[in-house]
Each structure stands twice: as C-alpha cells, then as structure tokens.
C-alpha cells in the first residue's frame, strides 16, 4: 500500500519538492542583502530609545532601492518578497487541500478505480490509513519547511519590528494576523486541517473539481474567522485599564470616542485583542459634553493632543484586553492543537463513511 500511495502521489510530491526548492533558492539568494543591511543598521547593540529609530531605518533601507529584473521599476523587491513569502505559507494548506486532499478519494470514485483498489486483499480502512498518514505527514512537512525557511530569511525583519521599527507592510509583530498562522508550529495544524478538509470534501461530493472549490471556500472562511473570533479566546486574555494617552485616540470628527489601546504598559509586544474608552469605574463612555468643543476637525497633532488631554482630564481611560508575549507559545499550541483535532475528526469521519455508507 505504501508503494501504491507513493506511485499515485509521485507527481504531486515532485511538484511540491520543486516548489520548495525554488522557494529556498529565492530566499537564500536574497538573504545576503538583508543580513548585511541589518549588520550595518546599528540595531545590534543599540540602547533604549535609539532602537526603534535604527530598526525603522533598517526596514526603510531594506524596502527601497532594490529592484529585481522581472519587477517593474520602483517596485520594492523586499516588500514584494516579504509579502509573497508570507502569502505562500498562508496559501500552502489550501493548495494542499485542493490538489492533494480533494482528488484523493474523489478521483478514484470518478474514474471507478476505487472498485479496483478496494477489491485487493486490503481493507478500505488500511487503504485510507496509509494514504492519510503518508500524504498528511508530507503536507505538514512541506508547509512547516516553507515556514521555517521564511522565518530564517525574515528574522532580521522580525527583530526590527519587535524593537518598534516599521516600514511599508513590515510592521506586523509575532501576533500579526498574517504572521501568527505562518510561523511557529501553527503551519503544521493548518496543513493537516487543509488536507483532511480536502479529502472529506472529495469523499462527500465525489467529484474532484467541485470538491476542490468547496475545499477552497471552506478553508478561506476558516482562515478568516479564526483570527477574528477564535484565536483571541483560545486562552483567556488579560485585561487592563490605563490612563489615556494621545496615541490612544483616533479623531473621527464625531462625539463618539475612537479609543484604541496601542501599547500595554509593562507588556511591550502584547497582542491587543479589543479596547475602548471607559470611565473610572470601567463602564464604556461617550465623550463628555465639556470636551465637545475640543473635537479636532482634522488630523493635526496639536488638536488630537488637546482632545486627548480633555478626555483624560474628565476621567476617560482606556481599557484593553490583550494577550501578553508570554502567551505566544501557549496560543501557538492551542491553535495548532485545535486544527490537528479538527483534522483528526475529519479523518475519523472519512473512515466511518468509507466503511458504513458504502459506494
């Protein structure tokens, strides 16, 4: 069965290996400029207040002045590379679900070859177990390899962003909605889930192309919903109420107060999952009447500061729910575990259906 699985999977495996090698070559070739700019930036050995400046300078240097032969003039090669490399890891589980998962059973049912495969001296359970295990592990390995490569390549960017640097799209920290699911161990969970989702869709729909479309649609919904509604609650967030600072206020030209916590005092790098304006007792508040005259008409810094001062002096404070940096690995574990559990549940359902609801 291992031989047959390999024989049927060979072409896809070679394609994946080629894609992985191309990805690695691209990153290895472009890494030298990244590390030499980083070395020259003065980030290493910076102290206190000098760090964010040095970090931002590095990111600006990195994202300017370098174009690739194939890209239009002025397109910043490293911005595009950074964006694409993250996107590839984000899309890999969906692609695997579509091209490895969905056809796995659907193609057999479509071409009738399941009647050949399931009439050898091997049960369907064995047949599916070998296929799911081998290809599922390959899916996880490929996705995690992409992630590790990108993580190595983008390490200087990660460090700079962690120190408060920001330029172009290079501003997301480890909790960023594109960064969190593409680094650490979460790619393992997403890959297993994407693959199992594709297999299940193929088994239920019984035709490869519609199953591929369904896989893509469902995976996209899950990838969209998880950072918004699931991830913040995987581990109970911490809460704090802090004094309002200018940085917390976004003028929106109206009496409602757009208050957003941007940093949590004492918890640099924390992921703020929700925040808002509250009074001294922690109740949500609108702008006090006394401050209405101070509503800034435009985005000038002086007006914003005056408004923030007025709000603060009338007892408006900022409340925030957040995941501190110490929650990073527990959250990674929880999200990976969630997706591995979903993948196992789908696999279990496939086994059940293959044996109970026969063709």
């Amino acid at each position: 069965m291992i031989w047959l699985t390999w024989r049927q999977f060979r072409a896809q495996a070679i394609t994946a290996a080629a894609a992985l090698v191309a990805f690695a070559i691209l990153l290895v070739v472009t890494e030298s400029r990244m590390s030499s700019l980083f070395a020259a930036s003065g980030i290493t050995g910076c102290h206190g207040g000098a760090c964010p400046g040095a970090a931002t300078r590095f990111l600006i240097d990195l994202s300017s002045g370098q174009t690739f032969p194939l890209l239009p003039d002025g397109a910043n090669a490293y911005v595009i590379l950074y964006f694409l490399s993250v996107l590839i890891i984000l899309a890999a589980p969906a692609i695997i679900g579509i091209f490895w998962g969905a056809p796995l059973i659907a193609r057999e049912l479509e071409s009738g070859t399941h009647r050949l495969a399931w009439n050898q001296s091997i049960t369907r359970t064995q047949w599916l177990a070998v296929k799911l295990t081998l290809i599922g592990l390959a899916a996880m390995a490929v996705t995690e390899a992409l992630s590790l490569l990108q993580g190595w390549w983008a390490a200087p960017i990660g460090k700079a962003v962690g120190l408060g640097g920001s330029a172009s799209i290079m501003s997301e920290g480890r909790f960023g909605i594109f960064i969190f699911p593409t680094h650490g161990i979460t790619p393992l969970g997403y890959a297993a889930f994407g693959f199992a989702l594709g297999v299940t869709a193929g088994l239920l729909i019984r035709r490869a192309i519609p199953a591929m479309a369904a896989t893509l649609a469902i995976f996209a919904v899950v990838q969209f919903a998880v950072p918004l509604w699931v991830r913040p609650h995987l581990i109970p967030p911490s809460h704090t109420i802090a004094t309002l600072a200018t940085a917390n206020v976004t003028p929106n030209g109206g009496p409602s107060i757009a208050v957003t916590a941007t940093v949590i005092p004492g918890h640099p790098g924390a992921w703020i999952t929700s925040s808002g304006a509250v009074n001294a007792t922690g109740q949500p508040v609108t702008a006090p009447a006394a401050c209405k005259s101070a509503i800034p008409r435009n985005l000038n810094p002086g007006g914003t500061r005056a408004w923030a001062n007025c709000l603060a002096s009338h007892g408006v404070r900022v409340s925030a729910s957040y995941q501190p940096v110490s929650h990073y690995w527990p959250l990674q574990l929880a999200e990976t575990g969630l997706f591995l559990a979903l993948a196992l549940a789908l696999a279990w359902y496939c086994f059940w259906r293959l044996n109970r609801r026969l063709t």
Partner: protein
C-alpha cells in the same frame, strides 16, 4: 460442497427504487455461473453486494461463508472484475502487476506475467492507452493473480467486439480450468454466456426469475405444441412460462416436474437461449398474465 454465494431475502434500495429485491439464492461451488438479465435488472447490484462494494438494505448475503469485504482474508478469496474494467490510466501495465503483488499476499506473479506475455501486452504501456479488450484483460489478470476462490466478473465483455469477446471468454475458461475457481459472470447477452456457463441465474426487474444448473433447467422445460386450447386446462404441476396461439394451434413453453402424458401434445426440447428469453419476456410484458395463470393453476 458449500455455497459460494448464499443470499436470503437480499434487497438493495436506492431512495425509493429497489435495485434488487427479495433475492434468495444458493450458488454451489465449482460452477461457472451466468447472471443474465436486461440492463437495469440488478445484476451489477447483486455483484456489488457480493463483493461488499454495497451494503444490503434488507436480508443477508454470505460469500464463501463470510461477510463480503469483511477483512483482508475475505477480500483475498474473491476476485472482482468490476464493470468497465477500471484500471489506473496513468499507471503502466507493469505498475498494475506491482499493485497486485503489493496488495495481495497470495499473489501469483508467475501467472500474471505469463498472461501478460500471452496477451502480448507491453509492460511499459500506460493503462490509459490500452484498448477496451486489453484493459479488460489487464483487470482480469489482476483479479486472477490474487488466486481467488471465487471470481466475479461484471459484464466483462460488454465493451468488446465479437471476436475479442470470444477470445476473452475462451481465455477465461482456459485459465479457470487450471484451478479450483468458481466463477460468476454477468452479461445482458445470453449468447455470451451460453457457451461457457453451466449454471444460470435470470434476473429481471430486480428479482430472480430462474436459477439452477443448465442441465436441470433444460430437463425441466419443454416446448409443447398441439391443437389450440386453453393453457388452464393443463394438468397440475405444469406451469406455463410463455404461450403463443394461432387460430388452430397453441405453442407453450412449460416447466414441469414430471412427464407430460397427454397425447394431444407434441413435446420438444427447448434451447437455453429461448428458455431464458421466455423468462425475461414473461417478467416484462406478460407479468400480469403469469400471475393470472398461477391463480388458476
């Protein structure tokens, strides 16, 4: 000898339609069994139930004493050539033999290679590029290579031209003759089966109409012809399968357990094809009349 396939009240329903209903059979071992019936009669359903590709809605089925597809041991005992002879288009002939070897502990590689050699198939050829006949032969080789006790062939010659049909069946009989294999094969063409089968099952409208060894079936059926008369006037124990009348004469195909003694009738033997066609026709247009006759009898 034990039964190779034994069913009791077996039925399979798709939504509201019964593909096979109330099927009770006991097929003894050592036969080449022909399963005949018009398209949609339930032949494929019965075969899929026997191989465990389908689960029954009602009743039970045992194949070689076990539940179909119950485990590797049961799967190893039954060779199945599914309808349209499915093979992997992207895999070569040699790959298919390797597939058989990898998935079947009792695989007879020598037999498989010899067959492929005799059939003049190129081992490097992709199965998708084979002709219909070659594909059927390749699929049959895999089914035979696992050395089954029972070989089930669903319309194995349907896609073949007349010459290839004859060759396929001849080749099948030669191969089967070598070992102790029981065979069940289906076709909607009686002429395909007449030559090779010594046991027949006629399936019409999801029901078994007739089943038994060919010799017994022929011995129990007669063609009666004589002056025109009402079929109801026939003695007990004589069942009319089909009847045709002219103004003065009646011709009837009857099933009888004893001799027909009435001197008014001329008795003649009936051919297997005519016999089975009569049963199929009876179930089709003449079903109403048949029931009527049975009541009178």
């Amino acid at each position: 000898m034990t039964a190779v396939i034994e069913t009791e009240g077996l039925g399979k329903r798709y939504h509201k339609l019964w593909a096979l209903a109330d099927c009770s059979l006991s097929i003894p071992a050592g036969h080449v069994v022909g399963l005949v019936g018009p398209n949609g009669a339930g032949k494929t359903t019965l075969m899929n139930l026997a191989t465990g590709m389908l689960a029954p809605t009602t009743g039970r089925i045992e194949v070689l004493g076990g539940r179909p597809a119950a485990g590797p041991g049961q799967l190893a005992k039954v060779g199945f050539l599914a309808q349209d002879a499915p093979v992997y288009a992207g895999l070569s002939v040699a790959d298919h033999l390797k597939l058989g070897a990898q998935l079947n502990p009792a695989w007879d590689g020598e037999l498989a290679r010899r067959r492929i050699g005799q059939l003049d198939l190129d081992p490097g050829q992709k199965a998708g590029k084979l002709s219909g006949g070659q594909r059927a032969q390749l699929a049959l080789t895999i089914a035979l290579g696992k050395r089954p006790e029972l070989l089930i062939l669903d319309e194995p010659v349907a896609s073949l031209d007349p010459l290839a049909r004859r060759e396929f069946l001849q080749n099948l009989m030669e191969t089967v003759g070598e070992g102790q294999v029981s065979v069940v094969l289906s076709s909607h063409l009686i002429s395909d089966l007449e030559r090779v089968c010594d046991y027949m099952i006629v399936l019409v409208d999801s029901r078994v109409r007739l089943a038994g060894p060919v010799d017994d079936l022929l011995a129990a059926h007669h063609l009666l012809s004589g002056p025109r008369r009402d079929p109801a006037s026939l003695p007990d124990g004589v069942q009319v399968i089909s009847a045709s009348h002219t103004d003065v004469q009646s011709t009837m195909l009857v099933h009888t357990t004893g001799p027909v003694l009435d001197p008014a009738w001329t008795l003649s033997e009936v051919g297997l094809e005519d016999l089975m066609l009569a049963y199929m026709k009876q179930a089709g247009g003449g079903g109403q009349r048949q029931r009527h006759l049975e009541v009178q009898k």
